[in-house]
């Protein structure tokens, strides 16, 4: 049973939650603490999987509490449920939470967020992953501009100009976004020079996805040439996979989900390179010597792969389940039974084909993901489309070369 700790200085608030969540009592072991000090006492007795806390409390406040939790129990998922609505003020004071909820929070949303945090720990709760994540210490919070954007977009009163302004606050990031928008990826046919323009061309959901990926890449910037890791090659590969996956799913799924999953399918590698550089170097050396794929070497060295690590990170930030799954199983899609061609399947196919065609065109030794799983594709009824997809992959790689 998952253990969840709720903290608030308002006793009425706690008893309300206690009643509301009583139907969950068979799945969740819930503890309620009336403040930071009490919470730490409870945790010292029995650690929890998830903590949900108010921010502003007399005595020990939410920030101090979460800082302590972060040092002592880094694997706990830290969620803030705060009555303060100015998101940016909250963000400044709280680089210590994985997710933010604001009061009043819809009960179903609260349940869903906690449920997901628990599911994440079950889905990805193997001992090897736990141990690896624990070695990394603390993982960063949800990207700030993305979060502000998501919050703003939830408000119907938000205009496109508001959205653009939010993004423009971070100059380096908006420059990076515009660079991507103008890359061959979007094929807009004209040069986009402002975030405002980008919003009207791409729509707000796509811009949100774009901002998210840019911020994530930024958060895991490897220091120097970590173990011969080629960040640019990874970004180029990710962009191609995102582009192909989006095309494969055209008309079936919203483009932003495929884009995020494609762009970030290998984010676990970045996490490894930046957080566990020694192990990452050993994995890279092993892969170079034996010619085996990274994920196989990772399994050997760590017992987990970048796929699970990346999925864990996105899950921690509350991204949709299908994106988390797409990351977790992008090398082993058959492990997760499904009956339609979805984001996971598209990212899997795109990853394999882009690697294959990169090598075929003599553009360097990409990570070989192995041949496509014909049986898996056959079950989804898409096996006969593979040749066309292969051609599309080759075309995209060419277009990128010409574009740059």
């Amino acid at each position: 049973m998952k253990r969840i700790l709720f903290v608030d200085d308002e006793p009425q608030m706690l008893s309300g939650l206690q009643r509301l969540l009583r139907p969950q009592r068979h799945e969740w072991d819930m503890t309620f603490a009336a403040g930071g000090e009490q919470a730490l006492v409870a945790l010292a007795e029995t650690p929890c999987d998830v903590i949900v806390t108010d921010m502003r409390m007399p005595g020990m406040d939410g920030v101090t509490l979460l800082e302590q939790v972060k040092t002592q129990w880094p694997q706990m998922v830290r969620i803030v449920l705060s009555g303060y609505t100015e998101l940016e003020a909250t963000l400044r004071t709280v680089p210590v939470a994985h997710q933010f909820l604001t009061k009043p929070c819809d009960p179903d949303r609260l349940k869903e967020v906690v449920e997901r945090a628990c599911a994440l720990q079950s889905l990805l709760g193997g001992d090897a992953l736990r141990a690896t994540i624990a070695q990394m210490g603390d993982l960063p919070s949800q990207p700030g501009v993305y979060l502000a954007l998501a919050e703003a977009l939830a408000d119907p009163a938000t205009s496109m100009a508001d959205v653009a302004r939010l993004v423009e606050q971070d100059i380096a990031m908006s420059a990076k976004c515009l660079q991507l928008v103008n890359s061959a990826f979007f094929g807009l046919g004209r040069r986009v020079t402002s975030v405002q323009q980008a919003v009207s061309y791409l729509g707000t959901d796509m811009l949100k996805a774009l901002v998210f990926t840019v911020e994530v890449f930024h958060a895991f910037q490897p220091a120097g040439a970590a173990g011969g890791f080629d960040l640019e090659a990874l970004q180029r590969h990710s962009l191609l996979v995102a582009r192909l996956a989006t095309k494969l799913l055209a008309g079936r799924q919203p483009a932003d989900d495929a884009f995020v999953a494609g762009m970030l399918h290998d984010v676990g590698k970045l996490v490894l390179v930046t957080r566990l550089p020694e192990q990452a170097a050993a994995i890279a050396a092993g892969a170079a010597q034996t010619g085996r794929p990274w994920h196989v070497m990772e399994e050997e060295v760590l017992g987990v792969t970048h796929a699970e690590i990346g999925a864990y990170l996105l899950g921690l930030w509350g991204l949709p389940q299908q994106t988390v799954e797409a990351l977790a199983y992008h090398h082993t899609p058959a492990r997760l039974p499904r009956n339609e061609f979805d984001v996971l399947a598209a990212v899997y196919v795109a990853d394999v084909l882009i690697d294959e065609q990169t090598v075929a065109q003599g553009l360097g030794a990409a990570e070989l993901s192995g041949p496509l799983d014909e049986e898996f594709l056959g079950a989804l009824g898409v096996a006969e489309q593979v040749p066309a997809w292969r051609a599309l992959a080759a075309e995209l790689i060419q277009a990128t070369l010409e574009g740059s």
């Binding site: 308002e10 008893s15 309300g16 009643r19 007399p58 005595g59 020990m60 705060s82 009555g83 303060y84």
Partner: protein, 299 residues
């Protein structure tokens, strides 16, 4: 063109003061808004949680009720058997009857309390931001203080316990919106002084508010156990733009405005006692009749 004291000049200065006051009021509302939102959002959250709970509980109880009705019908027909009794018992268990009996009344009572809390905040806000009438009107200052304390609650509650000792006051003729603004400024100053003194120690201070009638006057004292006002700045605290607070926490208008409202606008008096390291008490004295000194003699 005009002399220093020409009527035109005076009118301009008065206009500027009115605008400054309005600006300060808006600034205060902005600063308070976050705290007030918090004070409202918390009860909204638990009222919502409780209501959901009662809704689900009602569904469960309805299932049980159907069982009881079946029991009644079968009793009337004389066909009650062990199996039915067992089913009823099981339904009772499934509904968690004992828990519901205990918790539903509490959930309802706490929800009502929460709704009451929100209503009192909204009422206090309305009273605090009392629509500016040009004319002074008789006002209950104890009530005004209570509203101001409610509005400022979130600014105070994390650093101090607030005690009130309200005496019997006659109605005081005043522009209560402006006077509330003065009370708010003094309370926020008190909270800041305490925060400066206790720092991050987790300790709390005390703020107290006392009102007394003194013949044709009323006296409002607002005291704190904060850091106190150092000797060398005592003569400057009423100067416009004088502040010891960092940017974003104060503009140096609070006490300047307090003096303009109390002394010039209402013919009252404003003074303080302070001991460094022990605290400060501000005294606001207002004439019950609201008769100001002649504007010219004050200026």
């Amino acid at each position: 063109m005009y002399g220093a004291d020409s009527p035109h000049d005076l009118a301009q200065r008065q206009q500027a003061e009115v605008e400054l006051r309005q600006a300060q009021k808006l600034e205060a509302v902005g600063r308070l808004a976050a705290g007030i939102a918090h004070e409202i959002n918390t009860p909204i959250q638990f009222v919502g949680d409780n209501t959901h709970f009662v809704q689900d509980a009602f569904d469960d109880l309805l299932v049980l009720l159907r069982r009881y009705q079946e029991l009644r019908d079968r009793a009337a027909a004389g066909t009650v058997d062990a199996a039915l009794l067992d089913a009823v018992r099981q339904a009772e268990q499934a509904a968690d009857l004992e828990y519901l009996e205990e918790e539903i009344p509490k959930a309802l009572a706490q929800s009502l309390e929460g709704v009451g809390r929100v209503a009192s905040i909204v009422r206090a806000l309305k009273e605090f931001a009392h629509p500016d009438s040009k004319e002074k009107a008789p006002a209950d200052l104890n009530q005004a203080l209570q509203s101001t304390l409610t509005v400022a609650r979130n600014e105070l509650k994390y650093v101090a316990d607030v005690e009130t000792d309200f005496g019997d006051l006659p109605a005081v003729t005043c522009q209560v919106g402006d006077v509330n603004q003065v009370f708010l400024n003094l309370l926020v100053n008190a909270a800041h002084a305490i925060a400066d003194r206790v720092g991050d120690s987790g300790e709390r201070g005390r703020i107290w508010v006392r009102t007394t009638a003194e013949g044709d006057w009323v006296m409002i004292a607002i005291g704190d156990t904060g850091c106190g006002i150092p000797d060398d700045i005592r003569s400057k605290v009423y100067d416009p733009f004088f502040t010891t607070k960092e940017v974003g926490r104060g503009t140096g208008q609070g006490l300047a405005l307090a003096r303009a409202v109390i002394v010039e606008q209402h013919g009252g008096a404003l003074s303080f006692d302070s001991k460094v390291g022990e605290g400060t008490v501000f005294y606001v004295r207002l004439p019950v009749t609201g008769a100001p000194k002649a504007r010219e003699s004050a200026a």
